[in-house]
């Protein structure tokens, strides 16, 4: 009796220990090797840090084939909101960042404020590439005093609107993309269409995905029409409460929530991708980079059901990035060469093919591969033609150094209104005070 009991205890202990071990090993994530681990051999490993979908996989293979001494290791973080603080810490600490890092427009000002942390790409022959980029994108990569070229442009977030053809048809709405575009010259028309849609379909399917994506879209549109500012002016002073663009975008989004159009899932969260798969929303604002995300999360089942129409209020832009090389890189020359390759017209065409990220290079924009490209996932929508023309004429909106923190705070309040937990009347004041706090001025 004693013996068996004892053995039982040992077995149980062993079981627990092995389970603990399994859990521990399962959790120890592979963070990837840090930059510069090429070391003794001739092979150099270049680490690329990026977020979302950049569509670079094929390009890496191509580059590795052309440069046998280079190995590329990409560390992708799905959400920009998770990526930014990590990158900030790496850059501030002077260690940990990849040899090539992607910087999104909303955080570019933050990093441009530390020009000494980044390599001047002109030292590695980037000066000659000026005409490979639309002027504002090139300018956006310069440090504030114009003394350094910190980043080379990747994509442009030209704006369109994605919608579900099948659900529109079901609601008795037109499903042809030109006819759909005509449904909503303004955002108010868009809301009316949404009400109409909801009255016909109802149930689990809402008209829009997350109110915050629409808010950002309208905000960038409004800012582009006016002062080209959102929460901060060019001297990084907090101007959210006096900027009519922010209030206009806020009011329009609140109207959408009040009309019951919003699904209210948080953009890019698990519930968002679930809702996407389960047909729980019928439209989503579609900056060019969004096409890749919808395809990635929507999966094969929705191929051909989505289409791309014009956005209410005309044009606009949201997102778009640059690639930079931190000075902490041990292989700045090789890293700069990789940046030049990835942002070259050919590289941008490659990224466009893979993820539909709209090129910021005029040559690429005019390339037949882009211009004539019809996206089969989006019912053969001619995405090159839909997005292309706006890219060259875009006026960049100035996004302050603390843009992302403030954006997240305001988005949270917008979501609270959609959840019905915050009254629209007191919501604005709360958003302003939350935003101030997030900016560190409250």
């Amino acid at each position: 009796m004693r013996v068996t009991r004892h053995r039982g205890r040992v077995t149980a202990l062993a079981m627990v220990l092995s389970a603990a071990l399994a859990a521990a090993t399962a959790c120890s994530g592979d963070d990837g090797t840090p930059s510069g681990s090429g070391g003794s051999s001739d092979k150099i490993t270049l680490t690329v840090d990026d977020f979302g979908t950049f569509g670079y996989q094929e390009l890496y293979k191509q580059y590795e084939a052309q440069h046998p001494n280079i190995k590329i290791n990409e560390r992708n973080v799905p959400k920009l909101d998770d990526y930014t603080p990590r990158l900030q810490q790496w850059i501030a600490a002077g260690a940990g960042a990849g040899d090539v890092v992607a910087i999104e427009e909303g955080i570019m000002v933050k990093f441009k404020a530390q020009p000494d942390r980044f390599v001047d790409l002109r030292k590695y022959g980037a000066s000659a590439l000026r005409n490979d980029f639309v002027p504002w994108k090139w300018q956006g990569g310069m440090s504030p005093d114009g003394s350094k070229l910190i980043g080379l442009g990747t994509d442009v977030g030209s704006m369109a609107l994605c919608y579900r053809r099948d659900l529109f048809k079901k609601a008795g709405l037109p499903s042809d993309r030109d006819a759909v575009t005509k449904l909503w010259p303004t955002w108010d028309d868009f809301i009316n269409t949404g009400k109409n849609f909801t009255s016909k379909i109802g149930g689990g399917t809402k008209f829009i995905d997350s109110p915050e994506t629409y808010y950002n879209t309208i905000l960038m549109q409004e800012a582009g029409k006016g002062t080209n500012q959102t929460y901060f002016d060019q001297s990084n002073k907090f101007v959210m409460d006096s900027n009519p663009a922010v209030k206009a975008a806020w009011d329009e989004t609140v109207k959408m929530s009040q009309a019951g159009l919003a699904n209210g899932v948080q953009f890019l969260s698990d519930p968002w991708s679930q809702a996407l798969k389960k047909n729980a929303f019928a439209t989503a604002p579609c900056p060019a980079w969004m096409l890749g995300l919808i395809k990635q999360f929507g999966g094969a089942g929705q191929s051909g059901e989505w289409d791309v129409a014009g956005v209410p209020g005309g044009g606009g832009s949201w997102g778009g990035s640059w690639l930079a090389v931190p000075t902490q890189s041990k292989h700045p020359k090789e890293a700069a060469d990789l940046v030049k390759f990835l942002t070259s017209p050919q590289g941008q065409i490659g990224a466009f093919k893979a993820a539909n990220n709209l090129p910021s290079s005029p040559q690429a924009l005019n390339d037949p591969a882009v211009k004539a490209f019809a996206n089969p996932y989006f019912n053969n929508a001619p995405v090159g033609q839909i997005y292309g023309p706006a890219a060259t004429s875009l006026k960049p909106v100035y996004l302050g150094a603390d843009n992302q923190e403030v954006r997240q705070a305001v988005e949270a309040d917008i979501r609270a209104i959609a959840q019905g937990k915050l009254s629209p009347a007191s919501g604005w004041d709360r958003a302003v005070s939350d935003a101030k706090k997030a900016a560190g001025t409250g």
Binding site: R5, G8, R9, A12, L13, M15, V16, A19, A20, A23, A26, C27, K79, D81, D82, P85, Q88, Q89, A92, A113, Q114, G204, G264, V265, Q266, S269, D270, P271, Q274, A275, K278, A280, E405, Q408, A409, A412, D413, R415, A416, Q419, G420, K421, L422, K437, A438, G440
Partner: protein, 320 residues
């Protein structure tokens, strides 16, 4: 097992020569100092990795310290701002709310579970180890699975509730529902562990007390409340203090419950103090302010553990 290397005490007595005296002095030192030397590795590590960071965090909290640029000494300004910060007090409220609705049922349940496990049964080891199994699973896995169960549109909790005519609950959107959801995750993981600790305490209670009580005609329930609980007092104090510390540091569960967002919901419904600390220090990169939050959390835990200790000592003691 251990070999006794100490010199025999007899050597001390018979040591007139000079050499002998040194030896005696050394062995005296050995007797008084060695124990400290033996336990010193822990304390050295504690000083380096525990005490020093604690002090340094306090120093940082007295500064305005951001990620770039230098830092400047501002005295207690961070703390003054913190006391007037409604987001901080919201986090404190959430933390205590979740702590109470997680810990109180958890400890009661653990106590009852331990009482049940303490009876004579078949395969006791199996059951005793079984209650520990949830602890072996990783926190992240638990939080992710539970978050899916509490999904607004496709979660199992809402699916079950709809049979009872309950309308879809947006678990993250309400304070009460998000607290409840997080509390269940905590309980699922820790109830078994606490039950085992209680069980260990129960097994140390002499059987004769129960026999005597049974002879006097006390029922099982009466035995439980009159013998088990009072004699378990040290264990209860230990368990409740450990749960207090763990509960007030709650972080991973509410974080994953909110899809990894540090703000803990659209209106910060389930943001804990630990999350607020992280948000300030590593997202807003206000290291000084974040450190002040960390110190406030430390003080809160200290005060609350003490309170807990006093209350439980009184409660459990009052029964005897």
């Amino acid at each position: 097992m251990a070999v006794d290397l100490r010199p025999a005490p007899a050597g001390v007595r018979a040591a007139p020569s000079g050499r002998g005296r040194i030896r005696a002095r050394l062995s005296q030192l050995d007797l008084t100092l060695s124990p400290y030397l033996y336990i010193s590795p822990f304390y050295l590590l504690f000083v380096v990795f525990g005490l020093f960071p604690l002090g340094y965090t306090f120093w940082v909290s007295l500064n305005h310290w951001e990620i770039i640029g230098g830092h400047q000494y501002i005295g207690l300004r961070n703390y003054r701002a913190l006391l007037a910060d409604d987001q901080f007090w919201n986090a404190v409220g959430n933390t205590f709310g979740m702590f109470v609705i997680a810990t109180v049922p958890q400890l009661l349940l653990a106590l009852m579970l331990a009482g049940a496990l303490n009876r004579r049964m078949r395969a006791p080891t199996l059951f005793r180890m079984g209650v520990l199994l949830p602890l072996v699973t990783s926190v992240a896995a638990v939080a992710i699975v539970f978050t899916q169960l509490y999904g607004r549109d496709y979660g199992m909790a809402n699916w079950v509730l709809h049979f009872f005519g309950v309308h879809k609950i947006d678990w993250q959107a309400n304070k009460w529902s998000s607290w409840l959801a997080v509390a269940t995750m905590v309980d699922w993981r820790w109830t078994g562990y606490n039950a085992l600790i209680f069980l260990a305490g129960m097994q140390a209670i002499p059987q004769s007390l129960y026999e005597a009580a049974a002879i006097d005609g006390a029922s099982r329930t009466r035995q439980f409340w009159r013998i088990t609980v009072p004699l378990l007092r040290p264990t209860i104090v230990f368990v409740s203090i450990v749960s207090t510390i763990g509960g007030l540091q709650l972080f991973t569960e509410p974080l994953l419950f909110n899809n990894g967002y540090m703000n803990g919901g659209s209106l910060r419904q389930s943001q804990t103090v630990a999350m607020y600390m992280f948000e300030n220090a590593f997202q807003r990169f206000q290291y000084g302010y974040g450190s002040a939050v960390a110190w406030m959390l430390f003080l809160l835990i200290l005060v609350f553990s003490l309170l807990n200790f006093l209350i439980i000592r009184r409660l459990a003691g009052g029964r005897t």
